[in-house]
């Protein structure tokens, strides 16, 4: 895994090198994949204590203006004006066919002054949008294109973005003197100028995500890592943690070729929003909700110990193709292979035996409820 010079380096790259990370390319970034602890221990450490993740490859956008809510309610299947100040919501950018361009977390920050920044309320509302690294450029172009019809400013924020995840996360932040540990799950705020902090994450554990300027991030990292309960965790364990938690990875489990209905994500779209429409993809989504889908995203548990990876074709007893694994690996906390993917409704409804063909072996695969490990969010 040499350094590819076309990859972007994280602002805290030197800290990861000093911590002994092994790097690999992901979504155009040279990312820490594992640290000397190794993926298995990193995963378990996060579930037992707490892990520190550098997710600065993700992109924060700030939207402000009198029509910021209207823009978001058009760009996403979301009633942005109905969010309480500080409330976060998982949502999407859809295309006209209701295909998922990206999945996002939108947080209502508060009011904006005339210049679009915090303070005063003459400039309307302010929202934070957190988007995936691989889609950041496309998301920005998409937002700016839509924003041309609205009184709304779109700003891509240069930030270090850190996730602190695990049952000890809140206590570690409290001990380090940070405010915000009283937040409930899926709430966020701005503790200081240039900072954004939310109680959220991608592991199924309680935890926080903090966006902040690089200089202050170095101080924060040093302060947090002084607590021996916290360890750097790489992208490999982030993937096994989110997979056990049943959370989708855009580009794999959800893509523009998947809609929220077959992706089993309609819980993220409130019924009033579905009925009212008005967002991009509303008509297509309504049609899909009415017609039902031919395939559905499900959790998958292979028999035995051999992981069934993404892109593995699923077949029925006669060898007919009935689905595709979109993410798969070994679940260190589950103690067995875990996967998710799309299976034909007929096979799900008929409870038909499902198999994965791996190197000539036919491995039985069972539909398994998601998540594989229970979520432990702090609901407040």
């Amino acid at each position: 895994m040499g350094t590819d010079e076309n990859l972007k380096s994280l602002p805290l790259d030197d800290l990861h090198k000093a911590a002994g990370a092994r790097f690999g390319g992901f979504a155009g970034w040279n990312m820490p994949i594992t640290y000397p602890l190794g993926v298995m221990k990193e995963h378990l450490h996060t579930r037992e204590k707490a892990g520190l993740f550098d997710i600065s490859h993700m992109q924060l956008f700030e939207l402000s203006g009198r029509e910021a809510a209207a823009l978001l309610s058009h760009a996403c299947p979301l009633d942005a004006a109905a969010l309480q100040q500080g409330q976060s919501k998982y949502t999407f950018f859809l295309n006209e066919q209701a295909g998922i361009l990206d999945d996002l977390i939108v947080t209502r920050l508060g009011t904006a002054g005339a210049d679009g920044t915090a303070g005063g309320d003459s400039g309307g509302d302010r929202y934070m949008v957190v988007a995936n690294a691989g889609n950041a450029a496309a998301d920005e172009a998409h937002l700016r294109h839509i924003a041309s019809g609205f009184d709304c400013r779109v700003e891509a924020l240069p930030r270090v973005f850190l996730a602190i995840q695990g049952p000890q996360a809140a206590d570690i932040l409290r001990m380090a003197g940070l405010s915000g540990t009283e937040l409930a799950f899926m709430n966020g705020f701005e503790p200081k100028p240039g900072w954004f902090m939310s109680r959220s994450g991608y592991t199924g554990e309680d935890g926080f995500e903090i966006g902040l300027p690089a200089g202050e991030a170095r101080e924060l990292v040093a302060a947090l890592l002084a607590d021996e309960r916290l360890a750097w965790i790489g992208l490999a364990a982030r993937d096994s943690l989110r997979l056990e938690a049943g959370l989708c990875l855009h580009g794999h489990d959800i893509t523009p070729d998947h809609d929220p209905v077959e992706a089993a994500l309609t819980w993220a779209i409130g019924k009033p929003v579905r009925e009212k429409g008005g967002f991009i993809g509303a008509e297509a989504l309504r049609a899909k909700l009415a017609a039902g889908t031919v395939r559905k995203r499900v959790g998958l548990k292979p028999d035995g110990r051999q992981p069934v990876r993404g892109e593995t074709v699923l077949i029925d007893a006669d060898g007919n193709e009935i689905g595709l694994v979109t993410s798969g690996g070994f679940g260190p906390s589950a103690g067995h292979p875990v996967a998710m993917g799309y299976v034909a409704r007929a096979a799900i409804d008929g409870n038909l035996p499902i198999f994965a063909e791996l190197r000539g072996n036919r491995i039985p695969v069972h539909i398994h409820p998601l998540p594989f490990t229970p979520h432990r969010y702090h609901k407040g």
Partner: protein, 122 residues
């Protein structure tokens, strides 16, 4: 007297009395990371040099371990199948994978010695 050889595919081969014990190197297990699955060949299986003999899977990826020489499998290390982490903790000793009866000892001449292998991994 046992002689140990290596391959460019990061296997070690310890030969004693016409029988080779095969495993992956410590460097290989380190690169793969935590192993979660080992699929061993069948005893009696005839392997040709280059055949995929063993599948090892880490949390993130699957890899083949190739037969370094021709021969017949005489024994497999079931302990690695029940506890794949054994390959991580003892790659060059208790984490051996299989033993094979050599079909053609002259093939050994094409393998690397320890110095040659160390030169490859740097």
């Amino acid at each position: 007297m046992a002689t140990t050889y290596f391959t460019e595919d990061h296997e070690w081969i310890r030969v004693e009395g016409g029988v080779a014990t095969v495993g992956i190197t410590d460097h290989a297990q380190d690169q793969l990371g935590d192993l979660v699955f080992v699929q061993l060949p069948d005893v009696g299986q005839k392997l040709a040099k280059g055949d995929a003999a063993v599948v090892v899977e880490s949390v993130k990826a699957a890899s083949d371990v190739y037969a370094p020489i021709d021969g017949e499998v005489t024994e497999v290390n079931e302990a690695t199948a029940s506890d794949p982490a054994l390959v991580n903790s003892a790659a060059s000793s208790d984490g051996w994978l299989w033993k094979m009866k050599l079909a053609d000892e002259s093939q050994l001449a094409n393998l690397l010695d320890e110095a040659g292998y160390k030169a490859i991994i740097g």
